[in-house]
Symmetry: C2
Subunit: 397 residues, 2 copies
Amino acid sequence: MFSNKNILIAQGGGPTNVINMSLVSIIKEEKKLKSSVLGSLNGVRGIINNKFKNLNKISENDLKVISQTPGAALGSTRDKPDNKYCLEIFKVLKRKKINKFYYIGGNDSSDSLRIISEHANKTGYKLQCIHIPKTIDNDLVSNDHTPGFGSAAKYVAQLFSGINYDVKSLPGVYIGVVMGRHAGFLTASSALLRQNNNDGPHLIYLPEFSFSYQSFLEDIKKTYIRHGKCIIAVSEGIQNKNKKLVSQEISKTKEYDAHGNIQLSGSGSLGDFLAQQIKSKLKLPRVRADTLGYPQRSFLGSTSEVDQKEAFEIGKFAVKKALRVSYSFSAGIEERKILSKPYKVSFRINLLKDVAGQTKVMSKDFYNYKQNFITKKFINYALPLIGKNISKTKSII
Amino acid sequence: MFSNKNILIAQGGGPTNVINMSLVSIIKEEKKLKSSVLGSLNGVRGIINNKFKNLNKISENDLKVISQTPGAALGSTRDKPDNKYCLEIFKVLKRKKINKFYYIGGNDSSDSLRIISEHANKTGYKLQCIHIPKTIDNDLVSNDHTPGFGSAAKYVAQLFSGINYDVKSLPGVYIGVVMGRHAGFLTASSALLRQNNNDGPHLIYLPEFSFSYQSFLEDIKKTYIRHGKCIIAVSEGIQNKNKKLVSQEISKTKEYDAHGNIQLSGSGSLGDFLAQQIKSKLKLPRVRADTLGYPQRSFLGSTSEVDQKEAFEIGKFAVKKALRVSYSFSAGIEERKILSKPYKVSFRINLLKDVAGQTKVMSKDFYNYKQNFITKKFINYALPLIGKNISKTKSII
């Protein structure tokens, strides 16, 4: 139990469409408790750079608008604190008399928080660290799913639904490269709005299941013969059978990649390479590749209302729970029975060490490796998360 | 004045989000006239392949869902009829007793229709050809703007608004490559939801104004120094001072482009190349490029309600007008006074030869070449077209 009234909030890692929902719910809930609420700008980096914002002063109306804005309203960071960094952090926390720190972030941010929390324990500084999960990758362990995923999944599902009708109009081969370095949840979501067997995506390739060029080309050929078109969702993180990233493999063939450390997002090279393989080896017409890129986590206007609500509620839950327990924790979403209706979530707390820096991947019953496609079970799992505000669609052809 | 009751509808070229709105409005309006309404599948190709659909049979409810679905519900084509193709077309039209043909499409489709119409005149076949405009490029002459553009512009504006907040969170350089081979309207729309001078996009490069690497890099450097980040919207159709496509120029440096005819969409190569230039010459951190690709014309869920309404109304207008005039025509949107409020459109007819195959580009008062940015006048012109259903946004940092 912590009675201190000076609390700190920050946001870390890649932002999502609903990360500010959690931020605003913590601010609102802490204001009810008469806390003095500070925001650190750009995650933990704001602490050591002494960049803070008084969050009590933001009007209710502004809080509402902020909650619906993509990106991290306080700014974000990829910094991972080491011992020296921690010493700096605690100097500032001490001066500001802060004993409660909410960090909204994914795997890496939860790991930063674990490091800070362990440093506090070691040095005897009384600090309750509370991790609020967010990630479009949906890859946090001990969580049914993660705030941020539903909105990104909605964007990807809507995008592929539109592409399905576009390619129906002008048939060819379409590759969409989807974010998710280790986990295929987002790529798998490309099929959530598919209505019948002739609809795309027809093939889905995930990081969890090894990728072979030969099968890839054979699968496309078969699909093209069957449907007269082929729509493919490929994760940016696909790996060959030796667990090497395909992105990294192809980077060797490019002159201009001098540094070796190919970045997966923010480049169209994987999609272009695969499209080129299809063009040259299968000689199919209209081969196109799009790399979905950063709009997956930031597009304004396709936020899932379910995701928004959960991101808000988990913040509220964390504030209440933090009053009742004396230790640091990570707020989480309880595993649910996939088929129980109506869809409902409940929250739980996990120990930081049980969540930090770990990666959940797609379970084997979510994906049929032989068909290169997701299972009905995955659809049942993921469909409720993208919400209900989605247009119906129908074509004539 | 044509009294015939057998009418034909088809869709051509790259689909848009609202092309089916026009289709459905023509079907509904012709049904009121007790016409027998045939749809040709995949544009003019369906005529010569004898692929037709009876459109009278579709339920009102299905028509509503179809009208809101991206893609061309009847399928599309890139075929351009020559004399032999026309002879085949007229054989079928004669057999089906068709004397009225609505073709929903852009520059190329209007040109196909002109060719068909001239062939009819030459051979004495009584056919009224009616062109209904659609194009996300907004590049049809004699039109204030074109159905399809507003929705694509909304998607691009929402995407860059989200990217603005994403890059605010994790600063760097972001390039978004936007569709539009000859006209910059869609790329210019990236700035429609910008709220203040610090917001991205900061720089905009269009096909109409010549592109130089040197100025490009200097502009980015200046912007980065000023704002600590730089968001750039680049048209896929940017050209150097000799009117050569930059996309084509860079294709020389790539081994795998054997055919010379580089395609602009469905490849990330232009964005990747520009990002590489920035990385190697300016040594800036976090340089990312996304190529917006086909979702610009097909994304499910960011259709402009203004665009939808106009696409519907122009179809209705065309059916009514076709009863009153005896010649072929292209339906169009009357030029408006940009600042007159409230925003309102009226329709007109143009001769096919005045529209067909021509390209409208951005006028000089829509773009400030020295600043590499759009003018207030362009915002006044384009903002009403994306509609009002757009979330408000705000950040703290």
